[in-house]
Amino acid sequence: MSIDQILGLITGIVFGFLLQKGRVIRFEKQVGALLIKDMTIFKFMLSAIMVGMVGIYILFDMGIITLSHKPMNVGAVVIGGILFGFGWAVMGFCPGTSSAALGEGRVHAVFAILGMLVGAAIFAELYPFLSSTVMAWKDFGKIGLQDAIGITHWVIIPIFWAAVIGLFFLFEKKGL
């Protein structure tokens, strides 16, 4: 194995371990969040984001790492986002968590994985059509919030923290 592959494997094992310990990968938790009955996956995800964004922007400001924004291509993100939510609710897994769900014995994740492989193949076939239509409508490019609103990320991050902590108090108060 190359260094890339070894690094990916180790990172994945730790990530899968933590996803499983957080109990966020099973169908009940994924659909539970979409039914607004159990917000465990958002507690987990938003906590990861709060911690991660601070470290990433420190490393970025030190010039050690680069950012990799995904393009704000309006048609693609909006239609893709809606389609994903549609499939997510029925499937009850995400692409990353499906592999973990299989690891903790949820064998029906196999069908979700097969479906996603077929979906990827269909997308590859549709790509020439999509790239000249939906994906060609309006692309704002690879932008961050700080570029869009013209405020430094060190102002945005504390506001994000405050908003998310408020949300966490709401979750706990409502027993979600």
Binding site: Q5, G16, L34, M53, L83, Y127, G144
Partner: protein
């Protein structure tokens, strides 16, 4: 605040914060060891995996496809990450005895009964739609939700918001029985 949840898991705020540390360590390690900053994601791997499968019986078609060409079909960092996720969850669930063979999850069973076939068809069709959406949006809850929002990407805030709103509407339609 409890460190253990009722189902024997770890407090989600704590486990999530550890994932945040993992994400930071990962961007640092990939930059140092691979020469390029890599962010955690999963859905591109499905493109590469199906590319390998298609190569077996339709290699011409794969070679000519612009999307496969742009994605590059190889077992890369992210591919091994997705395999690692499986292994990590397997080890974690076996060691804390939360591993459970499940064919039909409870919420599904309540609504659609215990038919394995129905659940298989639902998961399969849902998977197709979700993956087309994820590739169109250029990310899933890992790539957009975790990695993208961490970087304050505008597209990731929009994508994650839409994943959730669309998921909430569809989940309500699919799983909530109309009171008759």
């Amino acid at each position: 605040m409890k460190l253990k949840t009722k189902d024997g898991g770890w407090n989600p705020y704590f486990a999530g914060a550890l994932v945040g540390i993992l994400a930071i360590a990962s961007v640092y390690a990939t930059t140092m060891l691979m020469g390029k900053t890599n962010y955690i994601g999963a859905s591109t791997t499905f493109v590469r995996a199906v590319g390998f499968v298609e190569q077996v019986f339709a290699s011409e078609r794969v070679a000519q496809n612009a999307y496969f060409a742009a994605t590059k079909i190889k077992v890369d960092w992210q591919f091994m990450l997705v395999i690692g996720i499986f292994l990590g969850a397997l080890v974690s669930s076996l060691t804390d005895k939360s591993f459970k063979l499940e064919k039909v999850p409870p919420i599904w069973q309540e609504r659609f009964g215990s038919s394995v076939t129905k659940r298989a068809v639902g998961a399969f069709l849902g998977g197709i739609v979700a993956m087309i959406g994820a590739r169109l949006a250029d990310g899933c809850p890992s790539g957009h939700g975790l990695s993208g929002v961490m970087q304050l990407s505008v597209s990731s805030f929009v994508a994650l918001g839409l994943f959730f709103v669309s998921g909430v509407v569809v989940a309500a339609l699919v799983y909530k029985r109309r009171a008759s």
